[in-house]
Amino acid sequence: MGVSPDPGFCGNCTHYAPHYPYSFMGLCCKTGELHVYVEKPCPDYAPRTGREALKALSERGWAYCATCMEPIFTPGDMETHRGHLVVAEVFVDEAGFEDSPAAD
């Protein structure tokens, strides 16, 4: 369920942390607000360059591929996600546990 990287929209903005697992929603890390990516671009829009994810990977040890819905831990893995929506942040809402039956 990857986000269409429409230029100018949230989906292509460096501030946008896609929601897991509904990546058509996401958190704006600039404003702290939840958005739907089809909204119009805003004044805070900053196009994603890919460098944010690389920086997160080197400084923090992980980035996230919203296309594959999985974390990336090494520069080598980053290569296998070329062309995917790779982001520095992913947004997991707090409601998940209430919808998750115990499973172990």
């Binding site: 697992p21 819905m69 707090e94 998940g96 546990f97 919808d99 115990a102």
Partner: protein
């Protein structure tokens, strides 16, 4: 209008599915419909595909689930790819049309086995692998598409209210609730009641989700009408409750006087203890202590300790947890400690299928632990039975001073159903034989009678308990005569139980002794067997069902009498296992050979439609039918 609707909602685990299911079940119950729904979920906690399968009826609570479904509500593309086969001709598909370009082979959460099957299917059908092409193919074959752009709907909600970040996935839940409500023509107040129950005390969420569901319902109604509207309920439902199997066992334990429950979290048992924790209170009348221990060994050991002090004490676990409890079970056996173990069966061996169902642990419970000692094993067939059995388990444990294993299976545990509020007036608490003012000479294991009056630790006399064989006071002995006397005293308790518990309550016959065929089962097989019998009856095939409720002590002569009336060729064991263990147990206890079986071991429940087909195959001569339907 119709009297019944079968539908399914699917989506990623932990992403709002549970919310949709609870809201819709509550809403339908609010309107007086009977509902049963089974949650099938993956064990990875979040992300993998899960679904809830519903059956709603205007004629009371349905007995079981069946296929095909009249409506499939999809939170994501994976749901459509996984369940498109399940749709009935003319059925409805609700999906996110903004995902039409999604391809099955690029869905990361989908298993490679399913992808391989879809690759073959889609190649044969000439589909390009996208959701859009599958939707068009379905439409050409009479499936009615209800395409909704989920992002567009959420944008409208965002314009009006903004979006609460903490509850993001819940909004998708309400889109599906709205779509189902629209197609069924559900009353808006009933839907709101369901939403209010789910989001109790969170007014903003109630407001937003009600708005969202209403908006979607209105749009769907405008485009498609209300083609899935149910007839008005046949009878006023009276006071009903909506509960899972876990819930009703917890409630039954409270009504039965539970004072101490210890557990280690495990699927599908933990939800029972989580609910009990909400009723926990200490230092008041009717105190209840719920203790999460470091493992199952500690759980059962603390339950034994609590029971020795006189508290009604229980634990709840599933296969792997019970494996750890086995040694302590024997300790409770030799010390005649009345404990209750609620055993929720899941798919084994080892970790197996943690979130899927099974009935393959029957023999394990009957023979667990070394040595011989009495235990009572009972198994519940439906929600009401599970409630009553949770009460009865304590009575049996204390009356016969022995461990009681209460078997529930995952299908029952995770099935949410409407049910009448149980009437507790007919229930009683039987604490068994208690010592009156036990003094210095008190002997816990007094040999003068089969049941020695119980006294409680901390309430007067000093008592001794050990894992070794013991004398009347509890001191270790290896004297052969004393050993034999104590051994026989323990074993006689089971003979006593066998004499005292009415056999008709232990094995219940539904239907006529003159029926064409007799289905033999236990646990959650009850619902689907009775439902299949109803369907087959309409086709001119009469089916009876023998429900084994208490499996130890086994009501041998009662069961033998019924089975011999049918003869080996007309008795069919139905079970969620490979071996049909109930048939083996019957052979062991009665000498009667059950020659035919219908089994399922995929971890999914037996559905009415497949059991009906299987019975017909047996009537045509097949001796063993293996079922496998369900994703």
């Amino acid at each position: 209008m119709r009297s019944e609707l079968v539908f399914m909602l699917g989506g990623p685990q932990g992403a709002g599915l549970e919310t949709s299911a609870q809201i819709l079940t509550t809403s339908l119950a609010h309107l007086g419909y009977g509902v049963v729904s089974d949650r099938e979920y993956h064990s990875n906690i979040r992300g993998k595909h899960s679904y809830v399968h519903f059956r709603a009826s205007s004629e009371g609570t349905p007995l079981a689930l069946t296929y095909p479904v009249d409506l499939l509500g999809a939170m994501d593309a994976e749901t459509v790819f996984t369940h498109y086969h399940d749709l009935a001709p003319g059925g409805f598909l609700v999906y996110d049309e903004s995902q039409e370009k999604a391809r099955f082979d690029r869905i990361p959460s989908m298993g490679k086995e399913l992808k391989a099957r879809l690759r073959r299917e889609f190649a044969e059908l000439g589909l390009d692998g996208t959701l859009g092409s599958l939707a068009r193919w379905l439409s050409e074959r009479g499936i009615r598409l209800v395409g909704i752009s989920y992002p567009d709907v959420l944008s409208k909600l965002a314009e009006k209210y903004g979006l609460q970040r903490a509850q993001a996935s819940r909004y998708v839940s309400s889109i599906l609730v709205g779509a189902v409500a629209g197609l069924m023509g559900l009353d808006e107040d009933a839907v709101r009641a369901g939403i209010e129950r789910r989001f109790a005390g969170r007014e903003a969420l109630v407001e937003q989700n009600t708005y969202l569901a209403s908006m979607v319902a209105e749009t769907v109604r405008r485009m498609h009408g209300e083609p899935l509207r149910l007839e008005s309920p046949a009878e006023p439902p009276g006071e009903v409750m909506v509960a899972s199997g876990n819930d009703v066992v917890a409630l039954g334990k409270v009504v039965g006087g539970l004072r101490f429950q210890a557990y280690y979290p495990i699927t599908p048992a933990a939800d029972e203890s989580f609910l009990l924790e909400r009723y926990e209170r200490v230092g008041e009348e009717a105190s209840l202590v719920v203790l999460q221990t470091e493992d199952e060994i500690a759980a059962i050991s603390s339950v034994i300790g609590a029971a020795l002090t006189g508290a009604r004490a229980a634990t709840a676990t599933s296969g792997p947890g019970f494996s750890l409890m086995v040694e302590a079970l024997g300790w409770a056996g030799i010390n005649e400690v009345p404990i209750v173990i609620t055993y929720y069966q899941r798919g084994g061996p080892s970790t197996g299928l943690p979130t899927r169902g099974s009935q393959s642990d029957l023999f394990f419970t009957l023979f667990a632990s070394h040595g011989e000692f009495p235990r009572i094993v009972l198994a519940s067939g439906d929600h009401l039975e599970a409630f009553r059995d949770a009460v009865e388990a304590f009575n049996l444990a204390e009356r016969y001073q022995t461990p009681v294993i209460h078997l529930v299976d995952k299908f029952l545990a995770n099935t949410i159903a409407t049910m009448p509020v149980p009437d507790p007036s007919g229930l009683r608490v039987d604490r068994g034989l208690l010592a009156e003012e036990p003094g210095e000479g008190y002997k816990r294991f007094d040999l003068s009678s089969t049941l020695s009056p119980r006294a409680f630790l901390g309430a007067g006399p000093v008592m001794w308990f050990t894992g070794d064989e013991h004398d009347e006071a509890g001191h270790i002995t290896e004297d052969p005569e004393l050993r034999a006397a104590m051994y026989e005293k323990r074993m006689r308790k089971l003979e006593l139980a066998d004499r005292e518990i009415p056999p008709e309550e232990r094995a219940v016959l539904y239907g006529s002794r003159d029926a064409d065929i007799l289905l033999l089962g236990w646990g959650s097989v009850k619902g689907v067997a009775l439902d299949a019998a109803r369907v087959l009856e309409r086709e001119g095939i009469s089916v009876a069902y023998l429900h084994l409720r208490i499996l130890e002590p086994f009501p041998s002569s009662h069961v033998r009498g019924i089975l011999e009336g049918f003869g080996p060729g007309r008795v069919v064991a139905v079970e969620h296992s490979y071996n049909a263990q109930s048939a083996m147990l019957v052979a062991l206890k009665t000498g009667f050979t059950v020659g035919r079986s219908i089994v399922k071991y995929t971890g999914r429940p037996i559905y009415t439609n497949e059991l009906v087909d299987a019975v017909k195959r047996v009537l045509k001569g097949e001796e063993r039918v293996v079922l496998s339907y369900g994703a």
